[in-house]
Amino acid sequence: MKTKEETFYHALEFRKDLCMGCSHCMMKCPTQAIRVIDGKAELNPNRCIDCGECFRTCPYGAISVKQDDFEKIYNYKYRIALMPSVFTAQFPDKVTYPEIYKALLSIGFTHVYETENSVDCLVKPYNEYIAKSEEKPVISSFCPAIVRLIQVRFPTLVDNIMLIKPPMDATAMYIKKIFEDKGIPFSEVGIFYITPCAAKIAGIKSPATDEESLISGVINMDYLYNRIYREIKQNSFGKDSDEENFVQMSKQSLYWSLTTGEVRIVDTPHKMAIDQINNVIEFLEKVENESIEDIDFLELRACYQSCAGGVLCAGNKFMTTDRANKRARRTSPNSVENVDWEKYADYIESNCLLTGKVEPRSIVKLDDNMVEAMKKMKRINEINNLLPQVDCGICGSPSCQSLAEDIVQNNADMKKCIFVQKILQQNDKLGLPESIDLMKQTWGVGKLDKNLVHEIRDEIEVDKP
């Protein structure tokens, strides 16, 4: 039987052929999930929360987000594009919504649904859940990176996570129901989510609770942006269509994926919205200390500007937010009436609770056994006190503290620290060849190539008088 850790899916893929071992990703990772070994970044799957900060920072494009093969849509007779509203907001103003819609059909989809279609039906369940929950603040489960962050770094807060399906899953449930009501078996329906980030993919492929996703596949938003833009450029779909055929959502639905989108629909005045992963971590530290009182609901998003700032979004995050806001302002609040939607409201409202439970997966604990954990903590502190506290990353771990932990967990050698090496060398306790070998173990052979000396000598002119 596979353990939960082994089945934990990550969409982020580190490409050894492109990785330069520059360590930018290692230094940015909010859960210290990356180490540099043999000149390449390596991901610890138990620590990764799929926030995508590494993808965002990589200067060499060496991190990619695994998506499903687009041709997979043809395994289904009915091919649904499940599209978050930030997708259309990526395009420049001159590209109209009907054009995007027609291009999606033109490249092979048979139906297009917007992800936030189910938002109106989530308002009541949200407020009921918050009102009756004993664990306050209730923390939204909308952003899968946040759910994972809480599992690994804030395990004491897992019971605060709201067990309500996010719009993506609620809308998928609604689509399934529509087709089944028409007598079409769900096996003929493929729902393909157009994702703005890696976290959503991970959330679909390995959900935080036991509940299986209804989504059949995932298409990356940056890939689809290019494909749709090209399709529009190469065809004349016509801009003359009535935009209302496409704009079918209420204001609150259109605001949903932007920052404060959820707090808008929550009745309690004691609510907050926080975006960007490090801001969220800082705030959750306070929540965990119980030093923040009287908050009933927290909307937490891993990306700055929420989904408009998703790592797979093609457009500038501020432009995207602006365009999404403009669309929401244009929409009349009652525009949902033109969808055959209301007859499904009860169905969604009564089926939107997530079954199962979000389990903690602490990366903070040093050992399952408390006595062992105490021994390890003592050793970590002793070792850390000997390290220079420069957090240079030359050892291949993101900080001195991380190296100390890696040493005690048997994943590293104290001699990997360049300062330790120099101290040993001064006392003839470490030879130069061994020191070079240690550096090569972390950074690979290339960066320490002996033959570079000729070029270096030319540059620094050491031999000249």
Binding site: P155, T156, E285, K286, E288, N289, E290, S291, E293, P360, S362, V364, K365, L366, D367, D368, N369, M370, V371, A373, M374, M377, K378
Partner: protein
């Protein structure tokens, strides 16, 4: 394991740094989350009491596999009537402290509710010692 932390009077900005550090330690030791929560709530209240009322204080934390024992020793005005201070809602906090969201008179009762054992000794004009004890298993 033994740790010591110093607490400055009036430094509300950093009030909670000891509870934060203790929380981190207990998480690393894989202590049950409900015990961590209780301990941190109690310690935070006691820590803020020093910041709000005393001149300065030291927090001594001892952890073994059985339990966590925390002693908060302050130099301060002391508590004239401990029984009264233990009553829900009783507070001597000044209006400016209350404005910052502290001093609602829930502190000492809240500490008691979140600990297995708690004791207070105090001498007027000298200071107060609060001891908190929570089993870890």
């Amino acid at each position: 394991m033994h740790f010591e932390y110093h607490v400055e009077s009036g430094d509300f900005i950093n009030a909670g740094s000891t509870s934060s550090a203790v929380k981190k330690t207990l998480k690393q030791l894989n202590v049950d989350s409900s015990i961590i929560k209780r301990t941190v709530v109690a310690l935070y209240e006691a820590e803020v009491n020093i910041v709000a009322h005393a001149y300065k204080g030291t927090i001594y934390v001892d952890i073994d596999q059985e339990a966590i024992t925390i002693r908060l020793v302050d130099e301060g005005p002391g508590i004239p009537d401990i029984d009264k201070a233990m009553e829900m809602g009783y507070s001597t906090a000044s209006p400016s402290v209350r404005e910052m969201g502290f001093g609602a008179g829930m502190g000492l009762p809240n500490i008691k509710n979140n600990t297995d054992r708690m004791s207070i000794t105090s001498k007027v004009g000298v200071g107060t010692t609060v001891e908190i004890y929570n089993k870890l298993q």
